[in-house]
């Protein structure tokens, strides 16, 4: 075979330059086109020894891990897949920054490992050319060799290596074949000395890449010949305007049924576990503030976070599996035509859907959206979707409204979900036409081939997401719970005369009627807890701010419930349980007795705290209000600034207030008390 004019052999291969100090570990960046198997390779190399971090100032996520190469530890960075280093996208810029030594943060990579899809060499080589011309030592990992082999392609790695001017190792990241060879080859990473066309000359690049393919690949690439009819048929069904939507609806329905059904078992277990832990803390610690802090503040706070973990894990596990099959790329097109009407791309669908479990992972999943404006719009409206933390509140309030009318109750549930989703979509539309005005990126997606999903990848992704959730949200929720506990507990007030009297009565009849004595004592304790709540800092705050919520029909007790929910909605039921008349048996929100007590709670004038009108108004308020500090923290992180978090908070709360007011006033006008 004669040498192609576009190809030149390397003049020399400079060995990788080691850092002079030798302290930091040698850092290798995994680069490549999307879906070439970088993350799969990264997981093979580093397994659980990895940290996910947001690239400073962007919404792009990178993972850094450690592994052992030839007896010495190295650092590996998994970067997002990009089609080119020179696109005006944050992902491209992040990849480029890892190749250059401009700033201290992040430290530039010592060498690049370019992960290449062996079945799509021609296009991948254009990206290889871009990296090699950066003058950084590189190794090419030729991945997906199993598929290439099945298709009858043979790739001559040594020839490819000579033509590229850097080591080329054939691997199969999925099975792990060749990964050891790759590790052995890393120290030989070299700066390519071959003549590579400038990336600005796309035609020369294409010619160069084609020539390399011609010289190093045996067998036939299927170029426009007989198509893959199986893939074609699946694509036709999955992207069909009617059938595609039906399939998508069925898949999503299945996904969420599985999530909610499966999650309930670990959630019950977690509730039981922390209930037991709280009990143990109560038994072994002496009565007093420390016991209360540990049993209610800390254990309760951790339980409040961990209880969402099963849903989050299941969501990411199943979504990763689904994404791995190749289906989600098709689904994005199906949803695109629907979501475009609201100014959002098809990519937004998965985050918005995930937001029904919890807005935090949903906002984290918004990373998948290529365009910045689309991404921010999605982040802004994600908390409108009814998350699982709202469920206990819906259960309580709908139970009060339609306790014995299951059909109406079902409709009300569906209505809450619909109200949240529709308001979110309309808000997205308004945002894209005002503050986030601008053209959207056109919908072009690579449709990966259909595959059996990798359980290993899904498990590792799930582990990673769970860690981020626990770290980011867990610390904040825990802190909030402790602060709330403090505000709700202090200052400790002396028991009021009624309580003292009840306690005395209880003592008096202790001998003669133990039953009555116990009942009296229970009542005394409830009254005291309620009295303490009223006179705590939180109670005073509730009374102070109550006039703001007066037009919505909320008394000071509901105001305390609403205020404490601004930290996290799920505390509403437990806070209300304490405020309206606490029981000494704890504040288990699932306990029907607690719900009954809240339902029957009375104001000081004897009128019910929760009338149908206030319940309806409160329900609307909870559907629309931004009551979750951890979400605001995540919004700040992912959207890149407090201003977005502030906007989200202000807009949602104002909207919730107005909608709840309209609801209350119209219910009253209709004669519903």
């Amino acid at each position: 075979m004669t040498a192609h004019p576009a190809l030149t052999e390397p003049s020399d291969q400079k060995a990788i330059v080691t850092k002079s100090k030798g302290e930091p570990l040698k850092r290798y960046a995994l680069l490549g086109n999307p879906n070439t198997g970088k993350t799969t390779l990264f997981n093979r190399l580093c397994g659980l020894r990895a940290q996910t971090a947001n690239f400073p100032g962007t919404t792009v996520e990178t993972r850094i891990g450690k592994c052992n190469a030839q007896g010495s530890a190295i650092e590996v960075v998994d970067l997002p897949g990009v089609y080119s280093l020179y696109l005006d996208l944050p992902e491209s810029q992040v990849c480029e920054q890892f190749l250059h030594d401009e700033e201290d943060e992040p430290r530039r990579a010592d060498a690049a490992v370019i992960v290449v899809d062996a079945t799509n060499l021609a296009r991948n080589l254009i990206f290889v050319a871009q990296v090699l011309t950066q003058g950084i030592p590189a190794v090419v990992a030729l991945n997906m060799t199993d598929i290439a082999q099945r298709r009858g392609l043979t790739i001559d790695c040594s020839k490819l290596s000579r033509l590229l001017g850097c080591p080329v190792v054939s691997i199969c990241a999925r099975s792990g074949d060749g990964v050891k060879d790759l590790l052995a080859e890393l120290p030989n990473a070299s700066v390519s000395g071959v003549g590579i066309p400038d990336s600005s000359d796309s035609h020369a690049c294409v010619t160069w890449a084609d020539a390399i393919v011609e010289h190093s690949v045996g067998g036939e690439f299927a170029i426009g010949e007989e198509g893959d009819t199986f893939t074609d048929r699946l694509d036709a069904a999955f992207t069909h305007p009617v059938l595609g939507v039906l399939i998508f609806a069925a898949v999503m329905f299945g996904l969420f049924v599985v999530i909610f059904w499966l999650a309930q078992f670990p959630m019950d277990f977690i509730n039981w576990l922390f209930g037991t832990l709280g009990g143990i803390a109560t038994t072994i610690l002496p009565d007093g503030a420390v016991q209360d802090l540990v049993a209610n503040g800390i254990v309760g706070g951790i339980a409040g976070t961990v209880v969402f973990l099963p849903q989050i894990c299941l969501l990411f596990f199943l979504l990763t599996l689904l994404e791995d099959t190749g289906y989600l790329a098709r689904a994005a097109f199906v949803m695109d035509s629907l979501l475009r009407r609201f100014g959002l791309p098809g990519h937004s669908f998965v985050p918005l859907l995930s937001a029904h479990a919890c807005a935090i992972p949903a906002i984290m999943a918004a990373k998948l959206i290529p365009d910045r404006r689309d991404r921010i719009a999605t982040i802004l409206v994600a908390p409108f979707m009814s998350c699982s933390a709202r469920l206990p509140v819906y259960v309580l309030l709908i139970g009060i409204l339609f306790g014995h009318q299951p059909i109406y109750a079902g409709l009300a549930f569906a209505g809450c979900y619909a109200l949240g989703a529709i308001t979110g979509l309309l808000t997205a539309l308004i945002a894209r036409k005002s503050i986030l005005k601008g053209p959207s990126l056109p919908m072009v997606l690579e449709l990966p081939s259909y595959k059996m999903p990798s359980i290993r990848t899904a498990l590792l992704t799930t582990y990673d997401r769970a860690k981020i959730f626990l770290r980011k949200a867990g610390t904040i929720i825990l802190a909030i719970c402790v602060v709330l506990w403090w505000l709700g507990t202090y200052p400790i007030s002396d028991p009021p005369p009624e309580v003292v009297q009840l306690q005395a009565q209880s003592q008096a009849v202790e001998e003669s009627d133990p039953e009555l004595s116990k009942e009296l004592l229970t009542n005394a304790n409830r009254l005291y807890a309620s009295y303490s709540a009223e006179h705590s800092f939180l109670g005073r705050l509730g009374r102070f701010t109550q006039p703001v919520f007066e037009p919505l029909g909320y008394d000071w007790q509901l105001t305390i419930g609403v205020l404490s929910s601004f930290a996290a909605r799920e505390v509403f039921v437990s806070t209300m349980a304490v405020v309206v008349s606490a029981s000494d048996s704890g504040d288990d929100a699932d306990d029907p007795a607690v719900i009954e007590r809240i339902r029957n709670a009375k104001r000081s004038d004897g009128s019910p705290v929760l009338t149908p009108a206030t319940s309806a108004s409160l329900l609307i308020f909870y559907v629309l209000a931004m009551q979750c500090l951890p979400t605001l923290a995540i919004t700040r992180r992912e959207a890149g600034g407090w201003k977005w978090a502030a906007l989200q908070f202000g807009y949602m709360s104002a909207l919730a207030y107005v909608a709840a007011l309209i609801m209350y006033v119209s219910m009253r006008a209709l004669g519903v008390a």
Binding site: D88, T119, F127, G224, L445
Partner: protein
């Protein structure tokens, strides 16, 4: 883009059909990119994804989205975009 430029990179054996929009082709049609009447940023993205000038592609599924295959890459392209990509038909159109 001039017709000359197209000819320069087109193998002589491939007939140079008239320019049509990618969205007009039916399934199984093979064609070669002629002109992309898009914003520069969109063109750059499509180029990087493998839809380069004069590359040969095969229409797998017309409509919304238009699914095409270039070598082993399958791309889904929104109909609005496919309408602005003009191609020379190689064969397969009824």
């Amino acid at each position: 883009m001039s017709a000359n430029a197209v000819n320069a990179h087109t193998p002589a054996k491939s007939p140079q059909g008239p320019m049509v929009s990618l969205a007009q082709l039916s399934s199984g049609a093979r064609c070669r990119i002629a002109v992309m009447q898009l914003q520069p940023a969109d063109t750059r993205l499509l180029n990087a994804m493998g839809l380069t000038d004069h590359c040969e592609l095969c229409v797998c599924r017309p409509g919304e989205p238009c699914i095409v295959r270039i070598n082993c890459t399958r791309l889904g392209i929104a109909g609005s975009l496919a309408r602005k990509i003009l191609v020379h038909l190689i064969d397969g159109q009824d």
